[in-house]
Symmetry: C2
Subunit: 94 residues, 2 copies
DNA sequence: CAATGTTACGATACACGTAATCATA
DNA sequence: TATGATTACGTGTATCGTAACATTG
């Protein structure tokens, strides 16, 4: 089952068009990114990034997926921000 | 960092208003649900569910968060479905 | 041959289940 | 006291980093 972590990693790679720079941006090593992107492509059954040695470009599916990923992450952030706004009470500490 | 897994679990609990039934619906045990909901409330800094022994009801923040969670999960599903639609090629198998 | 990406692999973290405890109807 | 929620704890998986390898510009 796909998770936001995967969305976030794909967004970084797709926007940077570079595993190296995406890794820097995410403050992590490159290898796990390769694995994550492959996982996503496997799960979607669709190639998202055209690679030679370096990244070439996004496939059409990759471009669509990038936009939808951004919407999803933004919506998730909205959820987190919206809830506390409707103030009620702090969670019971114990 | 919050994940879809937590959103999905909260949705089940919030809609069922019962950890027990939510666990059944998610095909998992109850205890992890308690932990997840506490994690979310901790992360949001907001109480989402009013509990006595059993669940009483959602707080206002809980109701808002439930709607935003559902939007988020729906958007995530849209992302997964949308990408392959813009056909291109299956991921390299080899 | 320098820079980038991938594969392999070991270590750590974390999500889950089981068991035991608590609370209330 | 029976049902449902929480706490405590052990275990398996998954995510990550390091290292070795491959590729291409």
């Amino acid at each position: 089952m796909i998770e936001l972590r995967q969305f976030r990693q794909f967004i970084a790679v797709a926007e940077e068009l570079s595993f190296r720079r995406a890794a820097d941006r995410l403050h992590m090593a490159q290898p796990p990114l390769t694995v994550t992107i492959k996982q996503i492509e496997e799960e979607l059954g669709t190639l998202l990034i055209e690679r030679t040695n370096r990244i070439a470009r996004l496939t059409p599916a990759g471009r669509v997926f990038l936009e939808e990923c951004k919407r999803t992450v933004m919506q998730a952030e909205r959820a987190v921000l919206a809830a506390p706004f409707s103030r009620h009470a702090a969670p019971a500490r114990d």
